[in-house]
């Protein structure tokens, strides 16, 4: 079956991994999201301008509610990553920039500065890969990042994504620098190491 987003009522309401509880971003997540963004501004900069630019709790809450609408509409699947042992928000992960006719999605992930380096990005991304291929019927999953973002490239390689190419001078980053975009992809019938 291709070409159609699934009925959102049939999607898992949450995903549990070894250390994380992943829940769709939604109403009420604004305060935690804003606090996390504030605390990790310098870390996120310049790769995640959307989170970086959040100016207030209200704006973060708007972002969370829009994410919830997108989840229901099948436009994007954005999840908050809560650490199971203490309920801390360690980041967000998303399937976004998708097209249902293929279907394909791009994988995005952002980890709070205080929680970086513990493999949460890999753990959350693995769970989203399973959601994409096993539940949503995705054919192609991409990871795209700024060529300076070595952490994302490491996650892509660790998860078995193939480096397809480098789009030169493709983006103007949040800091105004002209950057190349690295394109990695994983296809539905490729195995995850």
């Amino acid at each position: 079956m291709t070409g159609q987003p699934p009925d959102p009522r049939h999607l898992p309401p949450y995903i549990q991994t070894l250390r994380l509880l992943m829940r769709p971003l939604g109403p009420g997540d604004g305060p935690a999201l804003f606090a996390a963004a504030q605390e990790s501004r310098e870390h996120v900069y310049p790769f995640m301008p959307v989170i970086f630019n959040l100016q207030s709790v209200e704006e973060a809450e708007r972002l969370a509610r829009r994410a919830w609408i997108d989840w229901w509409a099948g436009r994007a699947y954005r999840m908050a990553l809560w650490r199971r042992k203490d309920g801390a928000l360690v980041g967000t992960a998303a399937l976004h920039h998708g097209r249902w006719d293929v279907p394909r999605f791009e994988l995005g992930c952002w980890i709070h500065a205080h929680h970086a380096g513990h493999g949460f990005a890999t753990e959350a991304t693995r769970a989203l890969i399973a959601l994409a291929f096993e539940v949503l019927g995705v054919q192609r999953l991409e990871i795209r990042c700024d060529h300076r973002n070595l952490a994302s490239q490491r996650v892509a390689e660790k998860l078995g994504f193939t480096f397809e190419g480098r789009l030169r001078a493709h983006n103007r980053a949040a800091d105004g620098v002209l950057v190349d975009e690295m394109v990695y992809a994983l296809l539905a019938d490729e195995t995850i190491p």
Partner: protein
């Protein structure tokens, strides 16, 4: 980065000229001549061009022409019609499909009517549109994307000095609904500038 001026305020020419061609933005009234060119070329276009799948008519071509004119005014795209410079006959379509003004980066595309294929018009037009992107629009990057099996389209990119950057596997559904790989070619500003210097290949 919100420092750049609104592109809608840019004054841009609506036509470009080359040795043998005039390329200009479509306008109301172009429907009949565009339709005539599309009709004779459907067999060539349908494997590659999503827009050519549906029923074609003077009305659908006229709708394209009017929407193209509006897209150009919005500086969202710059569709162009290719005409013979001396006799004004309609040769094909060209233009900038996507404009990312933040970079600035532009994606271009093209087609030629069946009876004018093989004469080098698309290569000539592509060189002109590429020059326009860099010289007039200040491009940092110009890209061409096509179905990996569309050899003629890829050959134009290669002839014009574009570099193959990536093969996007299973990027899109083709006209028959099959998954297709796409190729992305690009030229960046430093490469274009190197081509401009006299005495260099």
């Amino acid at each position: 980065m919100n420092t750049r001026p609104d592109p809608i305020l840019l004054d841009l020419p609506a036509s470009l000229e080359t040795e043998r061609l005039v390329l200009r933005v479509p306008r109301p009234g172009d429907g009949p001549v565009v339709y005539e060119g599309v009709r004779e070329s459907l067999e060539m276009l349908r494997p590659w061009m999503i827009w050519a799948q549906g029923e074609q008519s003077v009305a659908s071509a006229e709708t394209f022409a009017r929407e193209a004119a509006v897209q150009f005014l919005r500086r969202e795209a710059m569709p162009l019609l290719i005409f013979g410079r001396l006799d004004g006959r309609f040769i094909g379509g060209h233009g900038i499909n996507r404009m990312d003004w933040d970079v600035p980066a532009f994606e271009i595309g093209y087609w030629v009517r069946a009876s004018e294929a093989g004469k080098g018009y698309i290569t000539e037009a592509t060189r002109a549109v590429t020059d326009f992107c860099f010289a007039t629009l200040g491009a940092a990057r110009v890209a061409i994307r096509c179905d990996a099996r569309n050899r003629r389209s890829a050959a134009v990119a290669e002839r014009c000095g574009f570099t193959l950057e990536v093969r996007l596997r299973r990027w899109a559904r083709d006209a028959r609904g099959e998954l297709a790989d796409h190729l992305v070619y690009s030229m960046i500003r430093s490469e274009w500038e190197a081509h401009q210097r006299p005495g260099q290949p």
